[in-house]
């Protein structure tokens, strides 16, 4: 990890060597470790560290990027020259804006020294406690215990300087029995906020409760999606909120902005400052991230805009752009969904016949405009009858329009910081959804 001063010193060298008309530098540093266990033993255990420099040069309405992790003087000079040489070989872009001037940022405190300093022995001890729970229940545990720290700094030759430091930690657990499995996962900027015993218990209970799963005919069912399942579905819609995606007619919101697309109870916003969120308060060009209401009571209210997209579309930049140059534009990365007041247990009690889904897996987009997604249930899928979880069911494949699904939400839990495996963390609730479509079953 680099401090703001260390990153500034590196940028001074970039400025010394860059002969571009405008120069931007992104300096990233990471120190990360991950202990991985399976079959009740640690089988992979790694640590990494890296500092990298990415330089963007602008010359005569052209821009290009060159990056390196070699930080000696000759390499810094070389990366500056490479960026400029690449830019000179491009055709000019008449829409390219001058680099932004210095910006004011609202600070976010997401660095925890204790999390940065966790030792391999401490990670192994957490793995041991999780495995002990597996052994007690005659299960087999697999998972990760991970932590680290990173910094990202953005500078440009017009005086912009943004710096962010953050720590991260993660525990995920899969518990496997002879015919079933369960899963739980948690992430936090603070190591001490993770609860390995609770995660191990949740995963173990799901594995035990779903033993000897029964077959279920595919069809439309009421489903209760736990937050991780909701998250991994929603992730497939986030690129669609980009202003450029809509302008280029590749978004499912093309022709739908300002219209009611989802049910009344669906409200979604992007808010990097939310206490359960993570990430830097600036985008890939150094523009401060704004809070943006994306969906309000089912109406698509706003999109997010990178600076260049905003200029083209005569909108205000919202601070959601990717580093330039890129063809994607922008997307919300700090999504917060309004939740409800119904617990998952209450959702189960109110369900006559339906399914409780722990997580979804291998989700892919089948249709970009109807937003049909396919994927599988995994690690704990349960049949509910007369308000009670009755037994596990064999995993099912769904083919479901996300737009249609968000018009059939019957109840939601309070939103919580949630982590899955298909997308980035968000703050989302569990949902009870009517008429969710399962199209086939698998053998376990």
């Amino acid at each position: 990890m680099l401090t703001s001063a260390q990153a500034s010193a590196l940028f001074e060298k970039v400025l010394k060597y860059s002969t571009a008309q405008e120069t931007e530098a992104m300096i990233s540093a990471v120190s990360h470790a991950l202990t991985r266990f399976a079959n009740n033993t640690i089988h992979q255990n790694m640590a990494e560290e890296e500092v990298s420099l990415s330089v963007r040069a602008v010359v005569d309405q052209r821009t290009a990027r060159a990056s390196t992790n070699k930080l000696d003087e000759a390499s810094i000079r070389q990366v500056c020259e490479s960026a400029l040489a690449l830019a000179r070989l491009e055709p000019p872009d008449p829409e390219l804006l001058p680099m932004p001037p210095a910006q004011a940022y609202r600070g976010v405190d997401r660095f925890d020294p204790r999390t940065a300093d966790v030792t391999p022995q401490e990670r192994a001890e957490v793995a041991r406690r999780i495995i002990a729970r597996a052994t007690k229940d005659h299960l087999t545990a697999a998972g990760v215990v991970s932590q680290g720290a990173y910094s990202t700094s953005l500078f440009n030759s017009r005086g912009l300087h943004a710096h962010h430091e953050e720590t991260m930690s993660e525990i995920s657990v899969t518990m496997m029995g002879s015919s079933s499995s369960g899963w739980a996962k948690e992430t936090s900027p603070k190591w001490q906020e993770l609860n390995p015993e609770a995660l191990a218990a949740r995963a173990a209970e799901k594995a035990l409760q779903s033993r000897e799963p029964r077959e279920l005919e595919p069809g439309k069912y009421t489903v209760i999606l736990e937050p991780s399942a909701v998250l991994d579905l929603l992730g497939f819609m986030m690129m669609d909120f980009g202003g450029l995606a809509v302008a280029e007619q590749r978004s499912c919101f093309t022709g739908r902005v300002g219209r009611k697309v989802f049910g009344d109870n669906i409200s979604l916003r992007d808010d990097v400052y939310h206490p359960l969120q993570s990430g830097a308060p600036f985008d890939g060009e150094g523009i401060p991230r704004q809070r943006v209401i994306l969906v309000e009571h089912g109406v698509v209210k706003n999109l997010v805009y990178a600076r260049q997209t905003a200029h083209r579309l005569k909108a205000e930049p919202t601070g959601h752009g990717f580093p330039l140059p890129n063809e994607f534009g922008e997307m919300p990365l700090n999504v917060v969904m309004d939740g409800g007041k119904t617990s998952v247990a209450e959702m189960v009690r109110s369900t006559a016949r339906g399914l409780l889904v722990t997580r979804l897996w291998y989700i892919r987009e089948v249709d970009p405009y109807q937003k049909i997604l396919t994927g599988m249930t995994r690690d704990g899928t349960f049949w509910i009858e007369d308000g009670q979880v009755r037994h596990g069911v064999k995993n099912l494949r769904f083919n479901q329009s996300l737009i249609a699904m968000l018009n059939e939400v019957e109840a939601m839990s309070p939103a919580q910081r949630t982590s899955g495996e298909e997308t980035f963390d968000m703050v989302v609730p569990a949902m009870k959804v009517r008429e969710f479509t399962f199209s086939s079953a698998t053998k376990f």
Partner: protein, 486 residues
């Protein structure tokens, strides 16, 4: 670089490692893209670092850094041993590796035209011309094209005394036309979706693809799809083009044969496999005409899974996977080979870069060609669909239940390719599907495709894999599944 690697090796062994290997990897990449006749990404990157993998106290440790100073290399080697000691706090048995020989060699992947020697302006000029051709087609709303070049220079040293220097150059190129009609989005790509074709070769790949010549057809098909009939739902015979079949092999053969998945190592993320060891040599995986190999040798072709040695210092090999339909082989590491009492690893351990441990990854997992001409195969099909170019893919975590969508379908009636079909999809259960294969086209139709984006592991690693295939027919397959009732 050898001094640095040797120093790391010496420090690790001095600190108590009973086995150590070190990789110093220097990766250079250039990515160029255009969109609607404007440049998109124009970027160069390079990443150099060292990864030290050790066994100490019978357990694994790995540490990596981009700081190659003497103090840093000593520190990171010592850290790898310290991490192994922590792993040993939570082990059930000592790590055991299948035997391997000391190897000292240098290997260069064939590369006729260094892609980094081609002026960026020439590359962009070609991509912009492709965009222009696509946009000439009324109804194309988005034209995108890209080239991707990578050179991987790696030095491997191990405590067995091995010293292996390998240099590989990889090239990728392709384009896509997207059309929005007011109530739907359709897309066609060439030569494949999600980036195009990738191989371990130089700029000659771009020349062979002749991108510009294919742009008008691809643009026209993207627009025409809006007016095409919806792919029907039901049971039909299907013929898959070679690129879609390549991905079918990847998902429903390549991943299940990874022995680390079989043994449970990937249970928390990528999943496990239905191919438990009791099935080796016994399971009729496919029909008798199906023969699949995992072949990392250059003789197989310039696939993304072609190399001289894997990242454990094991030579590239040809491994039969399916022989006349029978399941006969896994992809292994030295550790997993030992777990199954195999005499030697077949060399499938590959790491994304210097900062990742090697995992069992597909090499070139390919379906060997059959005997049919494609026109004869179509003429022999009474009621079927010919499906081309992947659009979506999904499979369960043990690799049984799969579903694929393709960009375009063509109805086959009475031995003739007739109307265009949109939103073509199919699904099934792996072994049932492969046992329904009754015809494979001959070597004239066989293409070694590259899948550049295969994800696996924690932390996630992206790897390129190769899949050779010629079009093949599968009987009585469920089609139209994706739009069944969504």
């Amino acid at each position: 670089m050898k001094d640095v690697a040797q120093q790391a090796l010496d420090t690790a062994t001095a600190r108590g490692a009973t086995y150590a290997d070190v990789r110093v990897v220097d990766i250079r990449q250039r990515y160029l893209s255009t969109k609607n006749m404007q440049t998109g990404q124009v970027r160069d990157s390079e990443s150099l670092g060292i990864g030290v993998r050790v066994i100490a106290r019978g357990a694994w440790g790995f540490a990596a850094t981009d700081d190659l100073s003497r103090n840093s290399v000593d520190r990171v080697a010592a850290r790898a041993v310290e991490i192994a000691h922590a792993s040993a706090l939570c082990k059930t048995k000592d790590v055991l590796l299948a035997p391997e020989s000391k190897i000292v060699d240098t290997w260069y992947a064939p590369c006729r035209i260094d892609p980094f020697s081609i002026p960026v302006s020439s590359c962009l000029d070609l991509l912009l011309k492709v965009d222009a051709e696509l946009l000439k087609v009324k109804g194309v709303t988005l034209a995108e094209a890209a080239m991707d070049f990578r050179q991987i220079d790696q030095l491997f040293l191990s405590s067995l005394g091995s010293e292996i220097h390998q240099v590989k150059t990889q090239t990728g190129a392709g384009f896509a036309a997207t059309s929005f009609s007011g109530n739907g989005i359709q897309r066609r790509s060439y030569p494949n979706s999600f980036g195009g074709q990738y191989q371990t070769k130089g700029y000659e790949l771009v020349e062979e693809l002749d991108l510009l010549a294919h742009a008008p057809r691809v643009g026209e098909e993207a627009v025409a799809l809006h007016q095409a009939d919806q792919c029907p739902q039901g049971v039909k015979d299907i013929i898959l083009d070679s690129s879609q079949l390549g991905l079918q092999i990847h998902e429903s053969i390549g991943h299940p044969i990874e022995l680390d998945r079989v043994l449970g190592d990937e249970a928390n993320y990528a999943g496990t496999s239905f191919l438990t060891p009791d099935k080796l040599g016994k399971l009729q995986y496919a029909s008798e005409i199906v023969n699949v190999v995992a072949d990392a040798t250059p003789a197989h072709g310039p696939g993304l899974g072609t190399f001289g040695y894997d990242d454990e210092g094991v030579p590239a090999q040809v491994t039969p996977i399916i022989q006349n339909g029978l399941f006969v082989g896994y992809l292994t590491s030295r550790e997993s080979a030992a777990a199954l009492s195999l005499p030697r690893s077949n060399g499938a351990m590959r790491a994304e870069g210097w900062n990742r441990i090697p995992l069992i990854r597909m090499t070139n997992v390919s379906l060997l060609p059959g005997t049919w001409k494609l026109e004869d195969l179509i003429a022999d099909t009474d009621d079927g669909i010919y499906m081309e170019t992947n659009r979506s893919w999904s499979i369960d975590d043990r690799r049984y239940n799969f579903q694929f969508g393709t960009e375009i379908g063509w109805e086959i009636r009475g031995g003739k390719k007739t109307r265009m079909l949109k939103n073509a999809s199919y699904g099934g259960i792996t072994t049932e599907f492969w046992n329904s294969c009754d015809a494979i086209c001959n070597a004239d139709y066989w293409i070694l495709w590259g899948t550049p984006n295969c994800g696996k592991g924690q932390p996630m690693q992206t790897m390129g894999t190769g899949h050779g295939a010629a079009p093949a027919r599968f009987r009585r397959v469920q089609v139209g599944v994706a739009y069944g009732s969504g």
